[in-house]
């Protein structure tokens, strides 16, 4: 297997990034020359912004990240509990699942303003928005995973009259682990989107990268906006990286030979 530190793995991405930076520099410089300073900041200004006040960006990033993670925790746990319930009670699944599938394809961030109205400008509505964003993908994916338990193994346990709880614990839940990680890979980056949108909507809140973006943009300061976007991108990549690393470890044991 080729490792990430092998140049063949990271070199193309680095080159692409450099090309992007150069193009950005050229375009931004050209725009500044023509006096159009409100279209794109210079990369150097953005970097200076980041280096100039790393503390602000770190604390804002932490605000947004912790909101996102709390939302994942809340939405994920509730979705997992409901998924188990639905996999055990087919009637309930037939009642609720169509609704869940519809909501899964709805951009539920649209609930954000309503949740802000209902819960004010504190952290609660932001966590809730994130939880709502996370909920349906986790529910739908996990339910698929719980139902994907291998039928022959299921048959063996049934022939022993294993209880439902035993089948769940010893077969269904472990078999659903790959689905759980699939869900996490989708949902963790999505949770950052949820948190940022919630911060957009709850204007007047004091911190968070989303807040930083809206307040800076309102003052025509583009450098902080782009700096915040870069921090968000790094955050998303880092989250994904953590999930993939944990997934690799766990699935090596629970679903070996899958890749």
């Amino acid at each position: 297997m080729r490792r990430w530190w092998h140049p063949a793995i990271w070199a193309p991405a680095v080159v692409a990034l450099l090309v992007l930076a150069v193009v950005w520099q050229l375009v931004a410089a050209r725009l500044v020359e023509r006096g159009q300073t409100y279209l794109l900041p210079l990369p150097a200004d953005v970097v200076a912004e980041l280096v100039g006040s790393p503390g602000t960006y770190l604390s804002d990033a932490w605000t947004t990240l912790s909101t996102a993670l709390l939302g994942v925790l809340l939405g994920g746990v509730l979705a997992a509990v409901l998924a188990v319930l639905l996999s055990e009670v087919p009637l309930l699944a037939r009642a609720i699942l169509p609704l869940a599938v519809v909501l899964n394809t709805t951009p539920v961030v649209a609930f954000a303003p309503a949740l802000v109205v209902a819960f004010g400008f504190g952290r609660t509505p932001k966590v809730l928005v994130t939880a709502v964003v996370v909920f349906f993908p986790v529910l739908v994916t996990l339910l698929q995973g719980l139902r994907a338990a291998p039928p022959d193994a299921l048959m063996v346990l049934r022939s022993l009259r294993a209880s439902r709880a035993e089948v769940l614990l010893r077969l269904r839940l472990p078999s659903a682990l790959p689905a759980l990680f699939t869900a996490l890979r989708v949902v963790l980056p999505l949770s950052v989107v949820g948190a940022v949108v919630a911060e957009f909507v709850a204007a007047g809140s004091s911190s968070g990268l989303g807040t930083l973006i809206t307040t800076s943009a309102a003052n025509y300061q583009l450098a902080p906006v782009y700096a915040a976007i870069i921090v968000l991108a790094v955050m998303g990549v880092a989250l994904l990286g953590v999930v993939v690393a944990v997934e690799r470890r766990v699935l090596a044991r629970y679903a070996p030979g899958r890749r």
């Binding site: 048959m155 063996v156 022939s159 022993l160 009259r161 209880s163 010893r170 472990p174 629970y254």
Partner: protein, 279 residues
């Protein structure tokens, strides 16, 4: 020991599905009989094979005996009790077509799995006097030649080894009935022969009642006391053939006129059953 009387099992099927091959199914309710009017008796401690064309209801019958399917008509008795009751006492061992091992458990833990679920069955058995001891996991694994693989994981084993683990898992709890659904169909011929010998060796000292589903006439004859030929759907028994070859057969070099006579008879009957469905 195992008695099946007038068993019928139907599935909600597409209309006209029973009419495949020009044979018209008499049913009007859109259901499809996988098994109808099936009678079977398997004596205690005997080894019986089920053989018949694909789709004739062998797996369905096996599931019914394991208490995994409720009959629409007729009855199934295992040790004189409904299969569900026997299953609740963990008296039925099942070896499905795929090994169905849990990838996150070692070989040993996979074989211990039956002991870890439905523990009230074991408590009942103990209270009733603790007669038949549950088998020893390590010992059974040794007997199927996996004494060195106890701590390995299923994906580190060959298909034949995995199937032996599945066999050990079913046998380790000393079930009174052992049901095997084409357990050796996914391995090569040489491995398959080795697996047969191991199954025979194991059975010759465990002596449970066995129903073994297979597509191989040779396999049925080599292993069984009795071969049941089925046709269908709807599944039914068309003949019961006593093999009558001497035992023990595990080490013996089988062959000879007697065996070929039985094989020839079975082949003719299978051909007839097959032609009945497709001709």
């Amino acid at each position: 020991m195992i008695t099946v009387r007038g068993l019928r099992r139907s599935y909600p099927g597409a209309a006209g599905r029973g009419a495949v091959g020009g044979r018209v199914d008499g049913r009007v309710d859109g259901r499809f009989d996988a098994i109808a009017g099936l009678d079977l008796h398997v004596p205690e401690g005997s080894f019986t094979s089920l053989i018949g064309p694909s789709g004739c209801g062998k797996s369905t019958l096996l599931r019914a005996v394991a208490g995994l399917e409720d009959p629409d008509d007729g009855e199934v008795l295992v040790c004189g009790r409904p299969p569900g009751v026997a299953a609740a006492d963990k008296e039925i061992g099942l070896v499905p077509q795929t090994p169905a091992l849990l990838p996150w458990l070692t070989v040993r833990s996979n074989v211990e799995l039956p002991a870890r679920v439905n523990r009230s069955a074991d408590r009942r058995r103990q209270r009733a006097g603790g007669v038949a001891q549950r088998g020893d996991v390590v010992e059974v694994l040794r007997e199927v030649g996996l004494g060195d693989a106890l701590d390995r994981y299923p994906h580190e084993l060959s298909g034949g080894m995995q199937q032996r683990v599945a066999l050990a898992r079913a046998v380790a709890m000393r079930p009174r009935v052992l049901l095997l659904d084409e357990p050796f169909s996914a391995v090569d011929e040489i491995t398959r022969e080795a697996l047969r010998r191991q199954l025979l060796a194991l059975w010759e000292h465990v002596r449970t009642t066995v129903i073994f589903v297979t597509h191989s006439v040779r396999e049925a004859v080599v292993l069984s006391d009795t071969v049941v030929v089925m046709a269908g759907p709807p599944g039914r028994v068309v003949d019961v053939v006593d093999v009558g070859l001497p035992r023990p057969r595990a080490g013996a070099d089988l062959g000879g006129a007697a065996m070929h006579a039985v094989e020839d008879r079975l082949r003719r009957e299978l051909a007839a059953a097959w032609a009945g469905e497709h001709g």
